[in-house]
Subunit: 255 residues, 2 copies
């Protein structure tokens, strides 16, 4: 039987993602990190810089997951409304945090601590700071919600600092078996093996094209079959089962 | 006053995004396309290949947006459960669509129409097909929900085919003003201009680093100030207002 891992949801806050101006790469980084920690990332949402939407989404996902992570909207400008919105989501006052103020003053110098920078020292009343090893201005944790910057390099540094605080589960390992054939030709075999290992292994099927794109001529098609499980032994067994079927059907494959 | 545009939500369905194995690039393409059509993309969600989750998410977002788009999970294999889940979300039977079956038979040949491929002809009972100019297997529309493939090139072809069916709004135009300074130094100026144009223009502030990364030495920092509005005139006015302030403060900038 599988152990139940802690769960997580991720909220990407930012008009720049929803306008298509910026490609979100934070989801992939958080997803990979959660996988290594054995925390199941159940859902991610991208929402705009709109207070009511932030409050609603934080409350809903906070109630239904072990952890919630947010990225974006904690900078010095008028459109950075995440911190105040999260304070409201938890019915906490939005206050100047002395420790954050001290850190910013030390980093920028008292004479350069303008209004925008001071804004970055405001967090919910009962928040704990998350250190930022890149540009000092901290993120914070309140309840089970971790509020991080949107800039990928800063987000990654904050997530690194959060890791020791998180309850770990059993890491989900994965193995890829690549078959050089059309997906529909191995669909039935994959389903048989999936049904046999339904409690222990999740088998995903991801077709690809080499040397061109879908619909081009002169390309090689293939399928990456991804086996994911907490148990390396179950992965190995189910991989062997599918290899046997590939061999019997004279399908070319490689690990 | 702004005209109310139609709204949209996007649901990315796929374990491969939530495991971090695959970087989602469909969100950005849908976002840009919606912007051009004057349809406001309000939210995107990434959810796993889990039936109950798909049903719940489709119902919730379908009830609160003009349009919902989904990507992923309509292929030939056991883990492609989107079509059947969407049928259940609409309380419709999941049936073989004769037109889809005909298209697939014509494309692959009767002798090659294996079980996996026939699966791709199953859609909700009252669905309309969305053509797929790349690999034939169609998407479909049911109610206000448009179900598309997850492979970017195929998704893009399907979205192209959908465009004529959508009610258009007023395109949101944008202009970027780049300031070569730290974000906090222009925060107050941006806020003044934002407040002056609060009903017509959304001003977003996106810092960047050139020639390195955050925390490196020898880099140039700057801010892309993005003005977004249905009115080009209001954008031009608000840009001029901010330019005036930059000039007065001797801040280097360019359009």
């Amino acid at each position: 039987m599988k152990k139940e891992n802690p769960t997580a949801a991720l909220i990407i806050i930012g008009d720049e993602i929803l306008s298509g101006r910026t490609l979100d790469i934070n989801t992939q980084h958080v997803a990979k990190t959660m996988g290594q920690l054995g925390i199941d990332l159940i859902e991610t949402r991208v929402i705009p810089d709109v207070e009511a939407k932030i409050i609603h989404t934080v409350r809903e996902l906070s109630a239904s997951h072990t952890y919630v992570f947010t990225t974006g909207g904690i900078g010095p400008t008028h459109d950075d409304i995440t911190s105040e919105s999260v304070a409201k989501a938890f019915n906490q006052k939005y206050v100047l945090n002395k420790q954050a103020h001290f850190l910013l003053e030390e980093y920028y110098g008292k004479e350069n601590l303008n209004e925008g920078r001071v804004k970055m020292a405001y967090v919910p009343e009962h928040a704990d700071l998350i250190p930022n090893s890149i540009t000092v201005a901290p993120g914070f944790r309140v309840g089970n919600v971790f509020v991080m910057a949107g800039i990928p390099k800063i987000m990654q540094a904050m997530l690194e600092a959060i890791i020791p605080l998180l309850e770990k589960g059993i890491e989900v390992k994965s193995q890829v078996l690549t078959a050089y054939t059309q997906e529909s030709k191995i669909a039935a075999m994959m389903e048989e093996v999936q049904n046999e290992y339904i409690d222990d292994v999740a088998i995903g099927s991801y077709p690809f094209v080499q040397g061109g794109n879908y619909g081009d001529t002169g390309t090689t098609v293939g399928v990456n079959v991804v086996f994911r499980s907490q148990s390396e032994e179950k992965i190995a067994q189910s991989v062997r089962e599918l290899e046997k079927r590939f061999t019997a059907a004279a399908i070319k494959f490689e690990k």
